[in-house]
Symmetry: C2
Subunit: 308 residues, 2 copies
């Protein structure tokens, strides 16, 4: 997690660009080229997503510290889409970006070890270690308890990787389970405490551990409550922009040093060319860059200077 914090401080930008590409978001000149070359099929679609992603990464890599590809949007284009995910991760890393694969993976024992190998570590093939997807961080779901998280902790330590555990999600019905009270605490606070515990031996110099939490921007009061109760848990905050949260909603996620959270925007960043007055699809990468700068400045204005 310290690597992410250092990048945030270096760029004075606590945001992450969500790469959740749908074909609808991709400018038609990219789609047409890829469909012509590969066919109107899963491969053509996946190539269009990849080319779109690469252009966005080029437009963002010197001002935004991290990208967060959402696995679902690649899986919907089949294994060809998953290949585009692997290539997107590799490209973003080659440009110096921190990559968070948003997959909310969860399982136990050897199966969770397989997910950990897949997304954060390496797979052994006849004595050699091969990287499958190789992200820097992975979102996970902690419903299964420590057996689902322990296989990741060793890899976080050995390979300097991180995880983000779902604690309080940004959707309306998140309270159906997460807000229920158990032992005098909400389920989300119980999960947050589990994060503090899982990360207790993996704390970096800024005081945050390799075990972060996903906490939605749509519940600002809970962000503040959790920031106070979970002092070693770094937050990944979805819900800014398209889901309704603004800078004033996310400010509670930060500590007195201006760190403690990274704020995600996906559609707002990717579809900037569709939303900005006067922008055209030819201008998509520049529109994305302008929106990323606007978002950075919007959040920086309420957070102040970030110190590692």
């Amino acid at each position: 997690m310290q690597r992410l914090i250092d990048k945030i401080v270096e760029m004075q930008n606590p945001t992450v660009a969500g790469l959740d590409p749908k074909l609808d978001y991709v400018p038609s000149f990219i789609k047409e080229k890829c469909f012509e070359k590969y066919g109107k099929n899963l491969e053509g679609a996946a190539q269009a997503l990849l080319e779109f992603n690469k252009a966005l990464i080029d437009a963002l890599c010197d001002i935004v510290p991290a990208v967060k590809p959402q696995a679902a949007y690649y899986e919907m284009y089949g294994w060809q889409g998953v290949k585009a995910l692997a290539e997107t991760i590799a490209y973003a890393k080659s440009k110096g970006m921190y990559v968070i694969t948003d997959g909310q993976r969860n399982d136990i024992g050897t199966t969770m070890e397989a997910y950990a190998a897949a997304h954060l570590s390496t797979t052994e093939i006849e004595g050699s270690e091969v990287e499958a997807f190789g992200a820097d961080a992975l979102t996970v779901n902690g419903y299964l308890g420590s057996d689902g998280i322990n296989p990741l902790l060793k890899i976080c330590e050995e390979k300097d990787k991180s995880i983000f555990v779902l604690v309080k999600t940004s959707n309306k019905s998140s309270g159906e389970l997460q807000d229920k009270i158990t032992d005098g605490k909400t389920v989300y606070e119980t999960m947050g405490n589990m994060c503090e515990n899982w990360g207790k031996d993996l704390t970096g110099k800024s005081g945050y551990s390799a075990v972060g939490a996903v906490v939605g921007a749509t519940y600002p009061e809970m962000l503040g409550e959790l920031r106070e109760k979970l002092p070693h848990t770094f937050f990944l905050v979805p819900g800014y922009g398209a889901q309704g949260g603004g800078a004033n909603d996310v400010k509670y996620a930060f500590d007195k040093n201006g760190i403690g959270a990274v704020i995600n925007s996906s559609r707002g960043i990717m579809c900037a060319w569709k939303k900005e007055d006067g922008a055209t699809e030819n201008d998509f990468a520049e529109a994305t860059r302008r929106e990323a700068i606007r978002m950075r400045d919007d959040i920086r204005a309420v957070v102040g200077e970030m110190k590692a």
Copy 2:
């Protein structure tokens, strides 16, 4: 879910073969052939898994109603492994088997729609609908509440597909969250009630809905408790065999008609050739078939005749 129940009744076999392939499980003559042809890399490994899976499917398809590939074991071999997953699903379906993709996917809104399209439905590409993975059922995690499940229900109805929601998992630490008491009920019972509610308009002729639950065999008393409290929720039960559960542990998952559950075995089935006295790797498919028959008869002896 009714399609699965009908297959179980037709074969008088309430079991599912977990396809969680690791290279270690694959006979060396298959590995050597694939490494020679494709290289000692992710592609060679993925081709070995696929060839192994196809031979297992051939050995099982007339006696076992369903297979359950676990996504983690394919993802660890990169997009090449995910391609082997897609091809395994297609092959199992071509042999008439019901396919449950075990991915424990979870997210909200459009992202969950993307997972649903990926694994159970189709993806639109320029006006045509293309199948990405096309399983019959998907395991999911309900921590995010209804916003994470609703996108699946429409597809279950329209395309005659099913989901299995994690309720009580088979691991030791599952109780850290799942056994906590909230509103006088455990978290797992709360989740079970949510399953009953999500499935209430999707019930088939045998009385079970398209929304099933994952309930581990390692907690027999909870299996019995949930069977009674969740009369419309079909159970997927892991934990038989390698994880320690036996026929007497799983019998509580069944109703008076001998249905209500499908019992999974993964390593027990896949590694039968390693465990059976006198079996060699050349005999792996026959050993798998013998173990599948033994498991079927073991469970049938306590469950009795199954009636749809």
